[in-house]
């Protein structure tokens, strides 16, 4: 039960994983997006034969190379942590995680050792078309590599395509396609890679703006803004579209997270979408968790109902519906889910006892129960609830979920505006004179990083207390380590990653100041 778990250990293990993931994600999205921008630039070079495009491509390729090299393998640390800090979870997920991560590892290895090498070493050594193909393959490969990681993460948000084997205490993959085409995975992949494209576009736009502010490399800067502006605008519109789809899926598979994102406590029809809001404590509580309300809000009436169900009169369940249940909406109260989860746990306990006394008939009988679809759908689905002590434990931090979601959305719309303005000023021929815009573009470079990290914070904080939605709580997944050792590795990682980040910024800044050389 939760009270027996060392919360310091759980919290430090979570903090360590969050730190590693946040730092890792500082490197990844730029690789995802910049690889495509470079491929587009090189395509223009190969098609037009104009040397200026080669020079532009090689300049951005240098910055891509620095980011790629410093960021490479930082994700492996997350895999170390799975085995050390999250061993129960790693064992429990079985090959569901193993297969996508193995594919990602093989893909990354071949990609990095072959096509990246051609990209950097192959200028003037291989044919133009072969070089261009390699650049495109790096871009496609890097994004496909991200696919497998996102498929694995999506399974945690919406576990599908598996059956639990009580003999091994592991989940076994029964439907690879269900896992790959999990609606959460499809939404997450499209939303994540398009946000990487957006981030890289802002990076190119911001640095190009710096060149224009310094009155250096003006042709290169304007050409780069052309590519980044168009690619960034398309990407930011795609981010908005896929974000909408992603939120709709969350409302179905993680409804408590969705209600927390909107700080929607009481369900309603004609539910409004909060475009801006400030939360405050009401003084009321659900169990031991304080209830928030809006000190101030701007709301578009009915839009939340329309976005989730396409109907203004549709009912959007609130947090209390998920705690107390809503028979009309077919939502079970948490107390009933706890009963179902506890029943599944008792069946598992009976299986263990039968195995201990070598009661083969009973072992056989109970194993067949685990393969029964009704048991999977109505009982084992709620297995994690057996570890839930109080109904309110299923509510994530409403404050973090609400603000991370809304700040991300506000930034998303700001990016659309910036890219649209960049294209407008560029085609008008006045971008160099509008120094205010160039400064805004330069200062905006960190904003997509913030938006991207907020997205992950929402994804991971919003699904608490689950490590696997409804099936396993975070406290059940953690390894029984000494929390002191986790604190030590937390500090080690914080130091290592900070050094890597400083190195990246320092080498990159130096290269930017040098400018294109070729």
């Amino acid at each position: 039960m939760i009270e027996n778990v060392d919360l310091t250990l759980v919290d430090w293990s979570r903090a360590q994983f969050a730190l590693t993931a946040i730092y890792h994600w500082l490197f990844v999205p730029l690789t995802l997006g910049l690889s495509f921008i470079i491929a587009i630039m090189e395509t223009i070079y190969v098609r037009t034969g104009r040397e200026e495009w080669k020079k532009i491509t090689r300049f951005w390729m240098t910055l891509f190379g620095i980011n790629f090299a410093i960021g490479v393998a930082t994700g492996i640390i997350l895999e170390f942590e799975f085995g050390t800090n999250w061993s129960n979870y790693s064992w429990f997920v079985g090959d569901i995680f193993g297969a996508p991560l193995a594919i990602e590892g093989i893909l990354a290895f071949f990609l990095e050792s072959t096509f990246v090498a051609v990209m950097f070493f192959g200028w003037n050594k291989v044919g133009k078309k072969f070089h261009l193909t390699s650049t495109w393959l790096v871009a496609i490969g890097a994004n496909l590599s991200a696919l497998w990681i996102l498929v694995a993460n999506s399974w945690m948000q919406n576990p599908v395509g598996m059956v639990f084997n009580p003999e091994t205490a592991r989940n076994e993959m029964v439907n690879f396609w269900a896992i790959l085409f999990n609606q959460v995975a499809v939404d997450k992949f499209l939303h994540t890679i398009s946000s990487g494209f957006l981030l890289a576009s802002m990076f190119v736009l911001g640095i190009s703006s710096w060149f224009l502010l310094k009155k250096r490399e003006e042709l290169m800067a304007k050409r780069s803004i052309l590519v980044a502006g168009i690619f960034g605008l398309i990407s930011s519109l795609t981010v908005a579209y896929t974000g909408d789809g992603s939120a709709r899926t969350v409302s179905k598979v993680q409804p408590v997270k969705f209600a927390s994102m909107e700080a929607l406590y009481e369900g309603k029809t004609n539910a409004g979408l909060i475009t801006f809001g400030v939360l405050k404590d009401t003084g009321r509580k659900i169990g031991e968790k304080s209830v928030k309300e809006f000190a101030f809000k701007i709301e578009i009436p009915g839009l939340l109902s329309v976005l989730t169900s396409g109907d203004r009169d549709a009912y959007v369940p609130g947090i209390t519906d998920h705690i107390s249940g809503n028979a009309k909406m077919g939502i079970l109260p948490v107390s009933e889910k706890i009963q179902k989860g506890t029943f599944a746990k008792e069946v598992l306990t009976d299986f263990t006892r039968a195995r201990m006394v070598n009661d083969t008939q009973q072992v056989h009988n109970i194993k067949s129960v685990f393969n029964d679809k009704d048991f999977q759908k109505n009982y084992f689905k709620y297995f994690g609830y057996a570890s839930i002590e109080r109904p309110e434990d299923i509510i994530p931090s409403v404050t973090i979920s609400f603000y991370s979601f809304h700040l991300m959305v506000v930034l998303g719309f700001l990016f659309i505006l910036i890219f649209a303005l960049a294209i407008h000023l560029l085609f008008k021929g006045t971008i160099s004179e509008n120094r205010w815009f160039l400064r805004i573009a330069l200062l905006s470079i960190p904003l997509p990083y913030i938006a991207s990290e907020l997205g992950w914070i929402l994804t991971e904080v919003g699904r608490q207390p689950w490590i696997i939605q409804d099936t396993m709580t975070v406290s059940k997944g953690v390894s029984q380590l000494n929390s002191g050792s986790v604190i030590v590795t937390f500090i080690l990682f914080a130091t290592l990653f900070t050094i890597l980040l400083i190195s990246e910024i320092s080498i990159m800044t130096k290269q930017i100041k040098i400018g294109p050389k070729h």
Partner: protein
């Protein structure tokens, strides 16, 4: 066989020349990559990130029994 040898020789020279003519930033990031990989695999993995279940249990059966115990208790 001769063609394969020729291809391998070209591949070797491709990488050899690439590394030999690498720019200053390239050399710097390679040093960072090597130091990073050394820290990750020779220090962190060996001393701080041993697989918890493999370290404490010898067989998969014991590991599954341990995890099962964690799940139901």
């Amino acid at each position: 066989m001769k063609n394969l040898f020729h291809l391998l020789k070209r591949l070797f020279h491709f990488y050899y020349d690439g590394f030999r003519n690498m720019s200053l930033w390239g050399r710097k990031v390679w040093i960072i990559i090597l130091v990073k990989l050394f820290i990750m695999f020779a220090i962190l993995k060996i001393f701080f990130f041993q697989d918890f279940l493999k370290k404490h249990y010898d067989t998969d059966k014991q590991r599954s029994e341990y995890v099962m115990d964690q799940l139901i208790n």
